[in-house]
């Protein structure tokens, strides 16, 4: 048995464009998922019960069903129902953003609820209003416990974007599939994309660690 990477290099533009799509979808969905997740978590923290129920129901749907099934419903199911068709990229962005929002809202809610209740009491006893308290006192503390969760969410988005190959989007995994068809080599293309995923995740991790250190600067002993 011998390895032959030359056939993979020959088709490197496939991988390049695949990786770009993977990155693009990850970035857009991380951003949209975060924005939607913030809104959802705000609903969950209100005192209005029906809003809390709606937000919790939303979360349970997206956490309680497989991502691939959600993708199929949005890409194949909904167009049949309402007559609009989505491109594979659109379906991917829609599904991943909605799905990510559910997880992000839980991460945010957990972080905010996790801030010591004494911090609320101290703020209130100083006459600080709710909005300022959340913005200046609670959220800056919550973000430290939220950040690792958000990074994990970003990493899983990056990796799970590979299921978009199922609906035919030419992201990284699909690009490797195409190379296998053209070269009849399986091990090398998949090994190479595994490596590409790994490097992308590592870059994300290093960046997140830096950010975390910066956020925790008040803990450092000088």
């Amino acid at each position: 048995m011998k390895l032959d990477f030359s056939s993979v290099w020959q088709y490197w533009p496939f991988l390049y464009h695949g990786a770009l799509l993977t990155l693009k979808i990850t970035l857009i969905c991380t951003l949209l998922g975060f924005i939607l997740g913030v809104l959802l978590s705000l609903l969950k923290l209100t005192k209005c019960k029906p809003l809390v129920w709606i937000a919790n129901f939303y979360t349970s749907i997206f956490r309680g069903t497989p991502l691939l099934v959600q993708l199929c419903i949005i890409h194949f199911g909904i167009p049949q129902l309402i007559g609009v068709t989505f491109t594979t990229t659109q379906s991917g962005i829609l599904t991943f953003s909605l799905n990510s929002a559910a997880y992000v809202s839980e991460i945010l809610r957990g972080g905010i609820v996790g801030v010591d209740k004494g911090q609320y009491e101290a703020s209130m006893s100083l006459g600080v209003g709710y909005k300022d308290m959340m913005k200046d006192i609670i959220f800056p503390q919550a973000i430290r416990s939220i950040l690792p969760g958000l990074v994990n969410e970003g990493i899983s988005l990056l990796k799970e974007s590979s299921i978009l190959s199922y609906i035919g989007a030419v992201e990284l995994l699909r690009a490797a599939d195409q190379i296998t068809v053209l070269t009849f080599r399986f091990f090398e293309p998949y090994l190479v994309i595994a490596l590409i995923y790994y490097v992308m995740v590592m870059i994300l991790t290093v960046f997140a660690n830096r950010l975390e250190r910066w956020l925790n600067r008040s803990d450092r002993v000088s």
């Binding site: 600080v128 209003g129 008040s218």
Partner: protein, 240 residues
């Protein structure tokens, strides 16, 4: 200054306060003592509405703060509170802890807030700690900063909820010293504490609370040397 009329507080089915009547004059130093779970902290926390009474009136400076239309923030900014666990903001430096509410709530300028806070830091003997984070302070230092932070709002009333209970023994004194210094400034002080010697020394009045009621309300000498009720006597025997 502070008046309670028939104040009741329930937590679910648990009755914590059972008809509290209390009058505290301006400038007085009043200490609430009693066994744990007696409701003394709850009385304190009702004074700035960290707990809302189930029924009854609480009059602060002539205003019934239990009425729904009351501007709670305006009431709270005149009432400083010091907590058992300090509750400093860990992500802000000492000086930022102190200037945050004066700037945000009282709308005073950054320069004025800073100048005032530095004065207060000197008062509590921690001038050199202005620019460090609370994480690097000892418990006693944290509590002195917490007191200074509350004072920075220039409150008329200060509430102390077991301010030394979470401290190592050797740090209790430095905090009590600061509170004692405050007792001569004309600020109304209400304390919950287990430091009986200190309570006796610093208070104008002692209120003994048991089972959600004020059983005794007397001068420190009267209370400690000759308590009226059996409950108070039994309590003092255990703690003295």
């Amino acid at each position: 200054m502070i008046a309670f009329h028939k104040v009741y507080k329930n937590f679910g089915s648990l009755k914590v306060l059972k008809g509290i009547d209390l009058n505290i004059e301006k400038g007085q130093v009043v200490t609430l003592i009693g066994p744990s779970g007696s409701g003394k902290s709850t009385i304190l926390r009702c004074m700035n509405l960290l707990e809302k009474p189930t029924s009854g009136e609480i009059i602060i400076d002539g205003q019934d703060i239990t009425k729904p239309k009351v501007d709670i923030q305006a009431v709270r900014k005149n009432i400083g509170m010091v907590f058992q666990h300090f509750n400093l903001f860990p992500h802000k430096t000492v000086i930022d802890n102190m200037t945050y509410a004066p700037i945000k709530v009282n709308k005073i300028s950054k320069e004025d807030a800073r100048r005032k806070s530095l004065e207060l830091l000197e008062l509590v003997g921690l001038s050199e700690k202005a620019d460090i984070y609370p994480g690097k302070l000892s418990g006693g230092q944290k509590q002195r900063i917490a007191i200074a932070r509350a004072l920075a709002m220039e409150p008329q009333i200060m509430l102390f909820d077991e301010p030394t209970s979470a401290l190592d023994p050797e740090m209790v004194k430095e905090v009590l010293q600061v509170i004692q210094d405050l007792s001569h400034t004309g600020i109304t002080l209400v304390l919950v504490t287990h430091e009986m010697g200190f309570a006796r020394e610093v208070s104008d009045r002692i209120c003994f609370i048991d089972d959600g009621q004020i059983l005794e309300d007397a001068s420190p000498d009267e209370f400690f040397s000759n308590p009226d009720t059996m409950r108070a006597r039994a309590f003092l025997e255990k703690v003295l």
